[in-house]
Amino acid sequence: MEAHAHHKETFITKYVFSTDHKMIAKQFLITGMIMGIIGVGMSLLFRLQLAWPDKEWPILEALLGKWGTDGIMDPNIYLALVTIHGTIMVFFVLTAGLSGTFSNLLIPLQIGARDMASGFINMLSYWFFFASSVVMVISLFVENGPASAGWTVYPPLSALPQAVPGSGMGMTLWLVSMSLFIVSSLLGALNYIVTVLNLRTKGMSMTRLPLTIWAFFVTAILGVLSFPVLFSAALLLIFDRSFGTSFYLSDILVAGELLSNQGGSPILYQHLFWFLGHPEVYIILLPALGISSEVISTNSRKPIFGYRAMVGSIMAIAFLSFIVWGHHMFVTGMNPFLGSVFTFTTLLIAIPSAVKAFNYITTLWKGNLQFTPGMMFSIGLVSTFITGGLTGLILGDSALDINVHDTYFVVAHFHIVMGLSAIFGLFAGVYHWFPKLFGRRMNKNLGFIHFWVTFIAAYGVFFPMHFLGMAGLPRRYYTNTAFPMFDDLADINVLVSYFAIIGGIAQVIFIYNFFYSALRGKKSEQNPWRSNTLEWTTPVEHIHGNWPGEIPEVHRWPYDYSKPGAEEDFVPQTVPMTEEEMASGH
C-alpha cells in the first residue's frame, strides 16, 4: 500500500478543493451540465420567438422580466440570448465540459499515471473555470443585459455601449469571464501535455496510446497555441472599451456621437479571434472523435481500423486548423488572393476528415456490434460528422460562401458538424465511462430512448435550416417578418422549433438517468464493457493514486479485440504478448 492511502481527507479536500483528477473530472462534468442546461434553455426561448414572433408567452415574461413584457421578447434580449447561448455552448459546455471532463478522467487512467503531473495546477484549472462560469452567469443579471454582439463579439458593436445595450457592463463581464476561462484552459492544457509526455507507464509508448489520449493530447497543444491569441484579442478589446485606445475603432459616429478614435481596424479583431476560433472548432471536435474511436472499437469488438491513419489525420487536421481561419472572413473585404489561399487550405481539411469517416465505417464492418448507449451516440456522431462536414465544402469555397455567409446554411453546418458531433461525443463518453466516474451503471433503456429522441430531434432542428439558408435567410434576425420574401419560410421555423422543444425535453431523461444512476444505479463490475484499456484495471471505488499496488505494465496496443488465437474477444493492454505475437511483431 502506498503511503497516501492513509492520507486523511476532509470534505473540503475531497469534494471541493480536490487535487484528484477523477474528482476534478466530475466537477468539470457537473459544472458543464449546469451550463449546458442554461445554454440549451436559452436556445428554446429564442426558438419560441423565431417560430411564433407575434405570440405572447407568459413564460417569457416570467423568465425575462422587463425584457419579456407582456410575453413579447425584446429585440435586444434576443441578441443577448443568441450570444450567450453560443458562448456557453462553445466554451463552457463543449470545451471545458467535454475536454475538462474526459482529459482529466482518462489521461492518467489510460496512460497509467497516479494523477496529473500537477494536481494543484489541475485544481486551479477547475476553479478558474468555475469562477469564469459564475461571472458569465452573473452577467445575465446586469441592468442593461448580457453581451449581445454575437458569440464572436466583433467590435465596434461589442466595444460601444451606444450601439447595443449589452455592450455595457454585460460585455465587460463577458470579457472578464472569458479571460478567466482562457487561464483555466491554458492551465489544464499544459498539464495534459506534460502528463502525456512524461507520466506514461512502462511499455506505454506513444504508438500504444489509445486514440482518446492522442485526441486529448493534440487538442491540448491546439489550445496552448491558440487561446493566448484570443486573450490578446480580448485584452485589446478591453483597452478600447475602457482606456480609450483605438486598436479596433476608427471613424465612428454612433447614436449621434462622433468618437475620437482613429486608425484602428475592426478586421484586426476578426483575424485574432478566428486564429483561436477555428482551432477552437477542433478543440471541441477532436476529443469527441477520440472518445468515439475508443467506444466504437470496444463495442465493435474489433480494432479501430487504421490506427496510424487515425493518428495521422488528427495531426493533419490540427495542423491545417491553424491556417484556415480566414474562411470566416471571405466577405470582410480581404484581398481576394488571400481568400484563394484560405479556400485552398480549408478544402484540404476534407481529406483527413474523409479518412476518419471511412475508418469509422470500416471499423463497424464485420464487427460484432454491441449497441450500448455510448455506441449509439458514437454512431450518431459519425453520421453528423459526415452530414455536417460535407456542407463545409460549400462554405469553405469562397465563391460559394459569398451567398450563404451568415445565413442559416452556416447555422445548419456548424451545429451539425461541431455542435451535434461534439455533444454526441460527450454523451457517448458519459454513458461509456459512467461506471468509471461513479462506480455504477446507467439504465440502458433510458439511454436508448434518450439517443433516438435526441438524434431525430437534432436532425429535425438543423437539417431544414440548410433550406432556410438557401432561401437567403440571415441568421441572428429577431424576427423574419420584416421581409415578405421570407413569409413562406415560417412553416419551416415552426417545425424546427417543435423539434428543438422535443430535443430539449428529451434531455430530462438523460439528466434523470445520470443523477439517479450516480446515486442509486446498479453497482458496476470492474470492466463492464470488456475493454482493453488501463482505466478498467483500477478498482471500481476511487482511490488516490488510482492503482492500489504497482502501476501495471503495458505490453501491447489497446485494440486487440477479437484477436485470432486469444480465448476471449479482448486482450487487455496489460497481458504480455505471446511468443507468436512477438514473432509477428504485434
Binding site: P156, K302, V331, P336, G339, F463, F467, D487, D488, S562
Partner: protein
C-alpha cells in the same frame, strides 16, 4: 387560451415521462438484476433494426424536404457572375449529396448488418494500406477539381474583365438603414468622412471636393441592367454586411475603411417578376398574407443587413430596382445632386 393548452400539454408530457421512468424502474426490479444495464443480444437486434429503420426514415425525410423546400430557395441569379456561382454551387452540391447518399447507408447499413450476437465473432483487421490510399486518393482528386473550379470562379467574381468602365456607387450603412450615393457624370465619388456628417449631409460628403458636386444620394438603389456596377461600401458605426441574395452578392461594410464588390445586373425587376419561381413564390406569400389580412406583396429585389448590428438588425433593408438603361437614366435625372441638396 392556446398558451394554457401548451402548458397543459407540456405538464402532461412531463407526467407521462415520469410514469414511463417509473415503469422502467419497477420492471427492472422484477427482471433479473443486470437486465436494465447490460446490453444483450435482444437489444442489439432491436437497436440494429432501428438503425436500418432510421436510415430509411432519414432518406425519406431528405427526399421530402427536397420536394417541399427546394421551391422556397432563391430563384435564378439576377447578376452575371451569379450564374457562375450557381454552376459551381450545383456541382459542389452534386458531389456532397452523392457522398452523403453513399456514406450514410454504409454507416447505418453496417450497423444493422453486423449487429452483435453471441454466435458472431468479429474479424480482426488492423489496417489496409490499399484501402487507406483509396479513400485518401478519391477525396483528394475530387477536391483538386473542386478547388480549381472554385478558385477560378472566385477569381472571375473578384477581378472581372471590364469592357466598359463600371458605374461607381457607394453603399452607406448605419444603424439601421442604408443609403446609396451615385458618382454622377464624372463617375468619381467625392471625398467623404464620418467627421463631415452634418444636417442633411448624412453621408459626410466633402462639399469642397469638386467631384462631390454631381454626386447623387438616394434612399433606394436603382441599377441599370447589363452595366457593370462597382459598389464601394462604407459604414459609420458598426460592421454591417450588404447582402443582395438575388445577385449572389455580399460584402461587409466596415467603419474606418472601404470595401468593394462589382456586379452586373442581368435581369430587371420586371423580368424577375415574370420568373416562374418568383410568380409561384409571390402567390404563396400572398396567400399567407391574405389569411392574416395584410396587403398583397409585389416582388422587389432587396438589400439586407447580414452582420449582427444591434436591435433593429432584422429590419435594416433597402429596396433595389433593376431597370433598363432608359428607365434608369430617366430616374437618375429626377434625382437631386449633392450640390443641389446642399443649396436647398
Amino acid at each position: 387560451m392556446e398558451t394554457l393548452l401548451v402548458i397543459v400539454i407540456a405538464l402532461l408530457a412531463v407526467a407521462a415521462l415520469t410514469q414511463a421512468v417509473r415503469i422502467f424502474e419497477i420492471s427492472s426490479q422484477i427482471k433479473d438484476s443486470d437486465s436494465d444495464v447490460k446490453v444483450d443480444d435482444r437489444d442489439n437486434n432491436t437497436q440494429g433494426w432501428l438503425m436500418l429503420l432510421f436510415l430509411i426514415f432519414f432518406f425519406g425525410a431528405f427526399a421530402w424536404m427536397l420536394w417541399e423546400y427546394m421551391e422556397l430557395t432563391l430563384p435564378q441569379s439576377a447578376s452575371e457572375h451569379g450564374k457562375d456561382v450557381d454552376n459551381l454551387w450545383n456541382i459542389s452540391m452534386g458531389v456532397i449529396i452523392l457522398a452523403f447518399l453513399v456514406t450514410q447507408p454504409l454507416l447505418f447499413g453496417f450497423a444493422f448488418r453486423f449487429r452483435g450476437n453471441k454466435n458472431r465473432k468479429a474479424t480482426y483487421m488492423e489496417h489496409n494500406n490499399k484501402l487507406e490510399l483509396f479513400w485518401t486518393g478519391i477525396p483528394a482528386v475530387v477536391l483538386a477539381g473542386l478547388i480549381l473550379y472554385g478558385l477560378t470562379t472566385w477569381s472571375n467574381v473578384m477581378n472581372p474583365d471590364n469592357e466598359q468602365e463600371p458605374m461607381v456607387v457607394e453603399i452607406y450603412a448605419k444603424q439601421f438603414g442604408w443609403q446609396a450615393r451615385y458618382a454622377g457624370g464624372d463617375n468619381e465619388l467625392g471625398y467623404a468622412n464620418v467627421r463631415l456628417v452634418e444636417g442633411v449631409n448624412t453621408l459626410g460628403v466633402d462639399a469642397n471636393d469638386e467631384a462631390s458636386a454631381n454626386d447623387i444620394v438616394t434612399g433606394e438603389l436603382h441599377l441599370p441592367k447589363g452595366r457593370p456596377v462597382l459598389f464601394k461600401f462604407r459604414s459609420q458605426d458598426v460592421i454591417h454586411s450588404a447582402y443582395m441574395p438575388h445577385f449572389r452578392m455580399q460584402m461587409n461594410c466596415v467603419p474606418g475603411t472601404q470595401t468593394q464588390f462589382q456586379i452586373t445586373p442581368s435581369l430587371t425587376t420586371a423580368e424577375m417578376r415574370q420568373d416562374p419561381e418568383i410568380v409561384a413564390k409571390v402567390a404563396r406569400v400572398n396567400e399567407l398574407r391574405e389569411a392574416r389580412g395584410e396587403d398583397p406583396w409585389e416582388f422587389d429585389y432587396v438589400l439586407l443587413c447580414n452582420k449582427i448590428c444591434g436591435s433593429a438588425h432584422y429590419n435594416m433593408q433597402m429596396k433595389v430596382v433593376v431597370q433598363t438603361e432608359e428607365e434608369f437614366d430617366k430616374w437618375m435625372k429626377e434625382q437631386q445632386t449633392f450640390a443641389e441638396m446642399m443649396a436647398d
